[in-house]
Symmetry: C2
Subunit: 182 residues, 2 copies
């Protein structure tokens, strides 16, 4: 769960950052910002701020803002009937960020995973998204990502989102976020 | 056809513009810039500069740079076998730009169409892409777009590109660009 204050602060952070880096947003898009701690209750460490720019029947375009060293935990987008699952391409727009995919583990990876959740991070092939770095996570493949010391803004372009069906390694994750007063 | 000088100048323009507006590009992406006059031989008026960021089996992500008042002429992305044709979402990243779609014509549209090609522009429902404006052109639907006085940078996110199969209203258009010395 996150408090209303945490949520307001996160929206202000993401909105201000996009303005500052010259990414034009329409006023009404502020209301489309989703703030989630993924149910883990440690939002500043594990969570993400998502501005969905558009979702059609075929594609989704999102901006993802991360606090300094914040991570989105390991997950995959499983098949749904005839749909093989969401394919997702990430591109760094601002700040340092890294995407982690299955494969040969990168020595000395940059992102910081909370020690007590380390067991739920198994993909360690690091792709640097910094400065226009880009990579695609195929449908149903595990992946996670995190920001560096300044925080980050990442562009996510995908096939049709099925967010509520995302499968996370960490059994504590809940995709629906509870917001409490405070 | 365009000359090598026109091509070099266009690449320099698009590359410099992206740097100036803070859109991070990787050095090797400069080589992915396509400059096309669509065979009409009046590049500064009708043409476009395309930086393909990625194409997967499912999606395409491109940056499109336009010179001041330059237009991309009316076209559609036809079906190919089982594929219904490319769906394309446009979002303005910098400068003024407008997208034109079928439907109720907008009085006093902003973009400037070359008078001698006016007959090949039939869609006049204007969508303002300026300042984060966004719209989606469904598969096989006619559309065209143009920039304002400063030029523009547009983000194009689509389902799988099939560019060489694009159908243009103007019979003079050729999707493959001829580059000559000069």
């Amino acid at each position: 769960m996150i408090t209303q204050t945490q949520r307001d602060r996160a929206i202000e952070y993401a909105w201000g950052l996009c303005q500052r880096i010259g990414l034009p947003l329409r006023a009404e898009e502020r209301g489309q910002i989703e703030v989630t701690d993924l149910g883990l209750g440690e939002f500043e460490t594990t969570g993400l701020i998502i501005l969905t720019l558009t979702v059609t029947r075929e594609i989704g375009i999102k901006l993802i803002a991360l606090y300094p060293w914040q991570v989105c935990p390991e997950h995959r987008h499983p098949p749904q009937g005839d749909y093989p699952g969401k394919e997702e391409t990430f591109r760094g727009l601002w700040g340092q960020a890294w995407l982690y995919l299955p494969g040969e583990p990168t020595p000395d990876p940059h992102a910081r995973v909370p020690g007590h959740r380390r067991a739920y991070y198994t993909s360690w092939r690091e792709v640097d998204l910094t400065g226009g770095g880009m990579a695609t996570s195929p449908p149903n493949e595990w992946h996670w990502f995190g920001a560096g010391a300044e925080g980050a803004v990442i562009l996510s372009v995908s096939t049709r989102p099925t967010d509520l069906q995302d499968a996370f390694r960490d059994p504590g994750v809940q995709r629906r976020t509870v917001i409490v007063e405070g």
